[in-house]
């Protein structure tokens, strides 16, 4: 059986695997080595640290406000993830279980909206938030709230689509039976749909989280020094180190790893769900 399904001769398979792992592993491995190396050695192009030291990981917190950045990112991306999953399951439930005119248009719009260039919406969103802030008299630009609302909305098309692809795998009979038993929409959602669809909800939440965690475009103009996310802290750190005597590359690598760690952990923990959710939806 195995030999029938075989696609590549064994030597070729091994060579390809090694090549691909090198493509991935060489830069990633180097980043790890550089993060435990001295700034001086990294700037000189050295690979293997003469002495291993985790000093970069200790010093980075005082070099740049990375701790505050990570806290801001966690706060914003975390709340976005929760809110996005909830709103997405509402919309997806209707889009899957109710036939109404324009439903397919909404579905297509959900996919289309993911490709609207962020640069197109950045300026108007900025202006609208600033205008609302000025008229109502509450600060908007520079607050975490403005980021929260922005990421929540941009996460919705994607998360809703993920939930749509997930919910339609659930048999109609379950919700129908509940409806016949007299359950209202609210009860159907809380007692049946949400408990049965938590793998989908996890994926929807994770992608909303990633959107908030990874964004630089909106965060770079909608935050101030105190509300900067980790992404902006790292970007500013990288951009401001040109021309220094010894650029703190080792610390920058450590900071990059610290910024990537939560995302990689999330991904490793939920890898199977994420891969299934992605390939089922046919989306990035």
């Amino acid at each position: 059986m195995n030999s029938v399904l075989r696609l590549l001769p064994r030597p070729l398979q091994i060579i390809l695997t090694v090549v691909l792992l090198t493509i991935v592993g060489a830069p990633v491995g180097y980043v790890f080595l550089a993060s435990i190396n001295t700034d001086l050695a990294v700037a000189a192009g050295g690979v293997w640290p003469e002495q291993v030291s985790f000093q970069n990981y200790a010093r980075i917190w005082s070099t740049v406000p990375l701790g505050r950045g990570l806290a801001n990112s966690l706060l914003v991306a975390g709340t976005v993830a929760l809110a996005c999953a909830v709103v997405a399951v509402f919309s997806a439930h209707v889009l899957v279980r109710h036939a109404f005119r324009g439903r397919r248009t909404v579905l297509r719009a959900l996919l289309g909206m993911q490709s609207i260039p962020g640069t197109l919406l950045l300026l108007p969103v900025f202006v609208l938030f600033a205008t609302v802030g000025n008229t109502v008299g509450v600060p908007t630009i520079g607050t975490r709230w403005s980021l929260f609302v922005t990421y929540l909305t941009f996460g919705l098309p994607f998360s809703t689509w993920i939930m749509v692809t997930y919910l339609r795998q659930l048999p109609d009979e379950l919700t129908e039976a509940a409806r016949i038993d007299g359950a209202g929409t609210w009860q159907i959602l809380l007692r049946i749909v949400i408990p049965l669809s938590w793998p989908g909800l996890v994926v929807a939440a994770i992608f909303a989280f990633l959107l908030g965690w990874n964004d630089v475009l909106f965060a770079s103009v909608m935050t101030d020094v105190d509300t900067r996310t980790a992404a902006v802290v790292l970007q500013v750190f990288g951009a401001s180190q040109e021309g220094g005597a010894i650029p703190p590359y080792g610390q920058m690598m450590a900071a990059a790893i610290v910024c990537a760690a939560p995302v990689v952990t999330l991904y490793l923990a939920f890898q199977r769900y994420i891969v299934n959710g992605l390939t089922a939806g046919g989306v990035k």
């Binding site: 029938v4 696609l7 691909l20 493509i23 991935v24 592993g25 180097y30 980043v31 700037a43 000189a44 192009g45 709103v87 509402f90 919309s91 279980r97 109710h98 109404f100 005119r101 324009g102 397919r104 248009t105 579905l107 719009a109 959900l110 996919l111 289309g112 909206m113 490709s115 609207i116 260039p117 962020g118 640069t119 197109l120 950045l122 300026l123 108007p124 202006v127 609208l128 609302v149 922005t150 929540l152 941009f154 098309p157 990874n214 964004d215 630089v216 475009l217 103009v221 992404a231 990288g238 951009a239 040109e242 920058m252 990537a260 995302v263 990689v264 890898q271 390939t279 989306v283 990035k284």
Partner: protein, 325 residues
């Protein structure tokens, strides 16, 4: 396919067919109250409201702004800024590096996607069958996909420094690396880094395509005595074409729209050779404060996206396997 048929079915009430993006959900969602018999449509309200206020309205505002002479002086009274029609578009096309940016964005995305395709397909072929350590290798393959673009940009920016590790490694091979983050070779750097972070997506979609191929086809190939090369070329790769083309389109869309990677990798001001469309648009707004001009550029970039986007929307199955099978 189903998607093609539905395009025609939706056309009468689907709004302006040339704008399938943000402009569409508003009319369809407003209409639902009158036409649907369901009771739960209010559940669409939270999502719909957010999408209308943060995507649809700003989208319309962007279209309006692109017709205004909007700079730092007129910005806060933007509704009363002078209307100059297509003036911004004309200026963007004639007197800025927009066409160059379009070329850079488009060509780099196409080349990077072309590089990513064979890598992704090869990776899928190597992990199709179970072996010890397969799940570890699958996880490793996906690392570039999982790393945030700002991390990828930061890391490669250091790797590609003039005295960085990339040039040191090249020097041991006797090659003078030269400048990667500036000058003509920065274009190469952009392509390589984009391909590096983009190929795992191709891998994911190719792998799922591979696993949907029925075992009986493998058996038939074996019965016919097909060697691996013939089997790959005549059976497996043709069957993979739908998933690989989907991956290609998604990668293309993603790379053309990518702001963070070039922004972090090359910084601002961006070297001319890698001045991609999103970065140019951003700089025109938030550095040069030519807001109207920038809005026009953004609209033009949306028009460019539209071609692959329409292909993509026709490829994806809207109603799940049961409706299209």
């Amino acid at each position: 396919m189903a998607a093609t048929g539905s395009l025609a079915a939706d056309a009468p009430g689907g709004g302006d067919p040339t704008r399938p993006g943000a402009a569409r959900p508003a009319p369809s969602r407003r209409r639902r109250g009158a036409t649907a018999g369901g009771t739960a449509l209010w559940l669409l309200a939270p999502g719909g409201l957010l999408i209308v206020t943060v995507i649809v309205v700003p989208f319309a505002v962007a279209l309006i702004m692109s017709l205004l002479d909007l700079d730092q002086y007129t910005f806060w009274q933007w509704l009363s800024a002078p209307f100059i029609g297509v003036g911004n578009y004309a200026e963007a096309l004639n007197r800025t590096s927009l066409l160059h940016a379009i070329w850079v964005s488009g060509s780099a995305a196409v080349i990077a996607a072309l590089l990513a395709l064979p890598l992704g397909v090869a990776a899928a072929l190597t992990t199709h069958l179970p072996f010890r350590g397969r799940s570890l290798i699958r996880s490793l393959y996906l690392i570039p996909y999982v790393l945030p673009a700002f991390v990828v940009g930061t890391v490669w920016r250091i790797i590609l420094q003039p005295d960085g590790i990339a040039n040191h490694s090249l020097a041991t091979l006797g090659v003078d690396g030269g400048l990667w983050l500036n000058g003509p070779k920065s274009y190469l750097a952009l392509i390589l880094v984009q391909a590096w972070s983009g190929w795992p997506l191709v891998y994911l979609l190719a792998l799922s395509g591979l696993q949907n191929i029925d075992d009986s086809l493998h058996e038939a190939a074996a019965l016919d005595g097909a060697q691996w090369r013939a089997k790959l070329r005549h059976i497996i790769l043709p069957l993979l074409r739908p998933s690989v083309s989907l991956a290609a389109i998604i990668s293309l869309l993603h790379m053309v729209n990518s702001f963070t990677l070039p922004f972090v990798l090359f910084g601002i001001p961006s070297p001319h050779d890698v001045e991609v469309l999103p970065v140019l648009t951003y700089v025109e707004s938030f550095q040069n404060l030519r807001f109207g001009l920038s809005a026009a550029m953004a609209v033009i970039s949306l028009v460019l996206i539209l071609i692959p986007l329409l292909v993509y929307l026709r490829t994806v199955k809207l109603d799940g396997p049961e409706a299209t099978a």
